[in-house]
Amino acid sequence: MKIVLNKICKSFAGKSVLKNVCYEDDFKALAIIGPSGAGKSTLLRIIGGLLPPTSGELYLDGVKINFTEKELLSYRRTIGFVFQTKGLFEHLTALENVMLPLIHSLQLEKTEAEERAKQLFARFGLEREGYKYPHQLSGGQQQRIQIARAVAMKPKLLLLDEPTSALDPELTAEVLDMLGELQAEGLKTIIVTHEMGFAKRACEKVIFVAGGTIVESGDSAQIFTAPQTKALQAFLNKVLEWRP
């Protein structure tokens, strides 16, 4: 998928969070890494059409995204978004969470929506969680159901904002395994992550964001083995320092 970010700026109440973000590439799986507070989530929300930029342009596969409410509504239906935590509707069961957007955003029949949801639950070993409410599910299950909900809508692009940063290592693995499987099937993804191992293995492109701009970007093989900038070297040293 081709993505173009052209001079994207975002400020909140006068405070500048993204400054002149420019990027252009063709990717299957793109990882966004960087220190916290760098503006990664903000950038991802702009790409997902959840937040209009203060200025700048976004193109996906050559199509310009217009940040008007009306156009965003249909744009968002083509993009999956997975939140860091609490990404399920808390008053709905797991199955209802997956069915709701199918019925009310994609206008599917209820039976069709239910069938599609149940198939996904079966495929990812979630059958037994279908009738549970979010507070009855583990963090890993919640994240997998979020991913299932996004995938059920057959998005052209899946965005994930630190989907495993609140999880224990073994739950992290179950979420990343599911994601890897979907990527292998050709699902295009952009993931904000602190899992450098996953970024290196499963994403062929990487963006390093710091202080509200893209400091370095490129192929992940290159980024992780031969970082060019001091900032990225320092960042990688820091996050890899405590790894065995």
């Binding site: 808390e90 709701l100 957007p101």
Partner: protein
């Protein structure tokens, strides 16, 4: 076995409470040499029934109007246009900060007269609704604020329209949070409607006053009046418990 003894304990406790309370009232009555006699009330049963119905009508009508006023005031407090927001905040503060009795006199005799609202039933419902609406506005505002904002972000992300977000997300989440408080407020409406007797609306309290002027049995009349209000509010609280169970699936980890 353990279940059996706790059940027994509960029964004994209930009996004890009843004995203590009835005994206390009994002794109080003995001390002032009063013999209760409820028989005269039977003769007023038709008027009491009329009053009972009127109280229910005023309470139900006020419930609906105050829900409307409360919702508008809750949303208006958040309005970007400052005049609207201040007006809503001012309304809530003033109404909650003054006695209902004062409001009834003020709105009925000054505002009502000035603007030609001469139907006292309409005036009664409006005044009571204005009063309860301020409390309901606070309940709704608190409920809205307690919803995690990410729930709305989610709704956006999955492509729901604002109207569907309200219907499928905001409303059910809000209901789960405020239903107990709202039904509690309905019990208050029932009790507060008794003050409408000061503008001569023939509801239960007004009828009881009229009966008292007729039979001079103040104790019995007001005792019975209290009992009738309790029957209404107790029914409401029973219904509340049922509704709570129905709406309460989240936040309740058991």
């Amino acid at each position: 076995m353990k279940k059996y003894t706790t059940c027994l304990k509960q029964i004994i406790s209930v009996v004890l409470v009843v004995i203590i309370l009835v005994g206390f009232v009994w002794i109080s009555l003995l001390r002032i040499n009063h013999r209760l006699d409820f028989t005269t009330l039977w003769g007023y049963r038709y008027r009491l029934w009329q009053g009972f119905k009127m109280t229910l009508i005023m309470a139900f009508a006020s419930l609906f109007v105050s829900l409307f006023i409360g919702s508008v005031a809750a949303v208006a407090q958040k309005a970007k246009f400052l005049t609207v927001s201040y007006l809503a905040k001012f309304y809530v503060q003033v109404i909650r900060g003054t006695p209902l009795l004062v409001q009834i006199f003020f709105f009925f005799y000054i505002i009502g007269t000035a603007w030609g609202v001469d139907n006292r039933y309409v005036a009664g419902v409006l005044i009571l609704s204005l009063f309860e609406g301020a409390y309901i506005a606070e309940i709704i505002r608190g409920g809205l604020e307690s919803i995690d904002r990410q729930q709305f972000e989610l709704a956006k992300a999955v492509g729901l329209t604002p109207a569907k977000t309200f219907r499928l997300v905001t409303f059910p989440l809000l209901m789960a949070r405020i239903l107990p408080a709202l039904t509690g407020q309905f019990a208050s409406i029932i009790k507060d409607s008794s003050l409408l007797s000061v503008i001569a609306i023939p509801e239960l309290t007004q009828i009881t006053q009229e009966i008292s002027a007729d039979n001079y049995r103040l104790f019995e009349n007001y005792f019975f009046l209290g009992l009738l209000y309790f029957v209404m509010t107790f029914t409401v609280s029973l219904i509340t418990r049922r509704l709570e169970r129905k709406y309460k699936h989240e936040n309740s980890s058991e």
